[in-house]
Amino acid sequence: MAKSVYLATVIATIAIVVMLLLWVQTAEENKIGQMNVEIKQISLESQLQSAYEDFDTNNKLVYCTVIEQNIKNTSTRLSELEKDLQSYKSNSFNSPDFYYAKRSYLITSMILFRNFEKAKISCDLNTHTVLFFYSEDKSCEVECGVMGAQLNELSKTCKSFRDFHFPFNWPTYDFTKILEVKYDVNKAGTLVIDGNILDKVVSMDFLKKKLDCN
């Protein structure tokens, strides 16, 4: 029996697979590391916005221009991050790192949402707020898929709203629960537009009208 051949084959296979796994691990660590840096940066900027509001709301012209620009910028970056996180989740081997990054992302997203709500009042921003509660499992694949696609398409052309996406009933993170309770969200696939619930898929025209996108 060609024992030496089998042994050499097993060793060579293990060696190459371990090498590739290490390579993939390094690449994934770099990727999640970059995402974490970006989340941290956005988080810091959002905290700075909160701080500014406490001592500089008298100079509204400068404050509001900066804040508005900043919120626009950070929410765009956040939405890119969300896509990156989603693709990382479905393509990576490293799930624990994903959940830490997702948690940081959700905290940052909530800070930004809160800042935006405050800025809307203090700066009289005429922008709609949309909260989208989606599902992390397969319970809302079609409805959530349609709503997500609609918001994604609208956000490319319509600047009159900011959308924030949160997973419904996320098992390991209860901050989102506060929002669910506050807005009485009972199921995945719910939109909250300026505090009003919309728990079914509506037409693009209806959404455009609701968000003043025409």
């Binding site: 029996m1 060609a2 030496s4 051949v5 089998y6 050499a8 084959t9 097993v10 060579a12 296979t13 190459i16 697979v17 590739l20 796994l21 390579w23 993939v24 690449a27 994934e28 896509k83 693709s87 479905s90 393509n91 990576s92 081997f93 799930s95 694949e141 079609v142 898929g145 349609v146 696609a149 609609q150 398409e153 490319k156 898929v201 509506v202 037409s203 693009m204 025209d205």
Partner: protein
């Protein structure tokens, strides 16, 4: 049409249970871990198999070389002929051109041809002709002739095969080893006039070339290809003749020889050319037959599994090949199940999105290269290396116009073959399918 042998209910149930078990495990794993781990697992198998052949090559790099004979025993070539008027003459001429110090007898069995082959054969000098009264199929035709052969060696050869003139001078030396029962050689398509034939040429150069040699080097070759295999005549006296009605009678015969612990060798420096399918439909039928025949015979000869008389074959090659075959079918089934579901959801989303006034815009940034791709890259790199080693070893010069065929062979062809195999596998499980039909080789 001839009666086809089919598996019994118990064997089919066994096959089905094996398949269902692997599929259930795969689906269970799919729900527990990310798809990446499945991709990883599949590629590990792929890498392991390729490494196995490469390591074997490094270990047995002298195997499969030409061995000129020291003795020149008498040989009879047996050609079963059924409606082969376009090829039979060239087949006989190519045998007559074979260089061998002694006369090579040619015994042709006409299996009741209706296309005028019989009339052509009657006019050919220097051959012995047996005429069957009714069409009985290849196995019966060959068996009829084999029973009349008196020489020490016999070579059954398909009527659409053309051996090179030095084939015996390269192979007969293998029989200096008294334990060798048969020697097969490199089978290549006789024409390379279409993309499909070019792909098959490269495939044959690998599978009937170095791969067969390497398997035979660890006494694990189990096929005696129809286009050209030299046997000691006594092999048939010991194990019997070809089984009538078997869809892969050469695989069955090879496994039967293995069951008698016989040594099957392969010489990839000796070449025989044969006709191969030139359209997808014929190729599909041929591969379906190979798979069904292979599955049928593997199940029937399962007693060879873990058989200590053939340790490499019984403990590694056969279980590995058998499990791999079912595994590939199960992976395909799982892929189809999951992809159908994903496609169903995607179409529902798109339909509702578009019907509600949505528009489609393509976002390049949404394209993500998954890290598991690296495993595919590694597996395909190894496979390419192995194929190039095979071509180099059988002295096959890859031409520039064959590069496309090579790319298709590596990246697309395996999926086509897996699909045909899957279909053949299910036909065998459910005992359905067409009767015996021999397309080629």
């Amino acid at each position: 049409m001839h009666e086809t042998l089919k598996l019994g209910l118990k064997d089919r149930a066994l096959l089905f249970i094996l398949f269902a078990l692997i599929l259930i495990i795969l689906i269970f794993v799919s729900f527990c871990v990310s798809n990446n781990y499945l991709v990883l697992g599949f590629n590990v198998l792929f890498i392991f198999t390729t490494f196995f052949y490469l390591m074997l090559f490094l270990n047995k790099h002298n195997a499969g070389k030409a061995k000129p004979p020291t003795k020149f025993p008498l040989i009879t070539v047996v050609i079963p002929c059924f409606n082969s008027k376009n090829t039979i003459l060239e087949c006989i001429n190519s045998i007559k051109r074979i260089k061998y110090p002694k006369k090579v007898n040619i015994l042709v069995v006409d299996d009741c041809s209706t296309d005028g082959s019989r009339e052509i054969l009657r006019k050919i000098k220097g051959i012995e002709l047996l005429e069957l009264e009714k069409n009985c199929g290849r196995s019966v035709a060959v068996n009829t002739a084999l029973k009349q052969v008196k020489t020490e060696f016999v070579i059954p050869i398909d009527s659409d095969s053309y051996p090179e003139s030095d084939i015996l001078m390269k192979t007969m030396g293998y029989f200096d080893d008294a334990s060798v029962a048969s020697v097969s050689c490199l089978v290549l398509p006789d024409k390379r006039d279409s993309l499909l034939r070019k792909i098959q040429t490269l495939e044959y150069a690998v599978s009937f070339g170095l791969m067969s040699t390497l398997l035979s080097s660890i006494n694990s070759s189990y096929v005696v290809p129809g286009p050209f295999t030299i046997f000691r005549k006594k092999v048939f006296d010991i194990v019997g003749y070809y089984e009538a009605g078997n869809m892969a009678e050469d695989t069955e015969f090879g496994l039967r020889m293995k069951n008698h612990s016989m040594k099957l060798m392969n010489c990839h420096e000796a070449v025989v050319y044969t006709d191969v399918p030139n359209n997808i439909h014929s190729l599909f039928i041929q591969r379906n037959r190979w798979c069904r025949g292979g599955t049928f015979n593997f199940i029937r000869y399962r007693k060879l599994l873990f058989n200590k008389k053939n340790p490499d074959f019984g403990f590694f090659v056969m279980p590995f090949l058998f499990i791999l075959q079912i595994f590939v079918v199960a992976v395909l089934a799982r892929l189809v199940l999951f992809m159908s579901y994903d496609l169903f959801v995607f179409l529902q989303v798109m339909f509702r999105y578009l019907s509600l006034g949505g528009i489609i815009s393509f976002d390049m940034a949404a394209i993500v290269i998954p890290p598991s791709l690296i495993f595919f890259v590694a597996a395909y790199t190894l496979l390419t290396m192995y194929f190039l080693v095979c071509f180099w070893e059988v002295k096959y010069k890859l031409k520039l116009d064959e590069l496309l065929a090579f790319v298709i062979l590596i990246f697309i062809y395996p999926y086509f073959v897996s699909f045909t195999y899957s279909q053949g596998y299910f036909k065998e499980i459910f005992g359905v399918g067409e009767a015996w039909r021999r397309v080629s080789t």
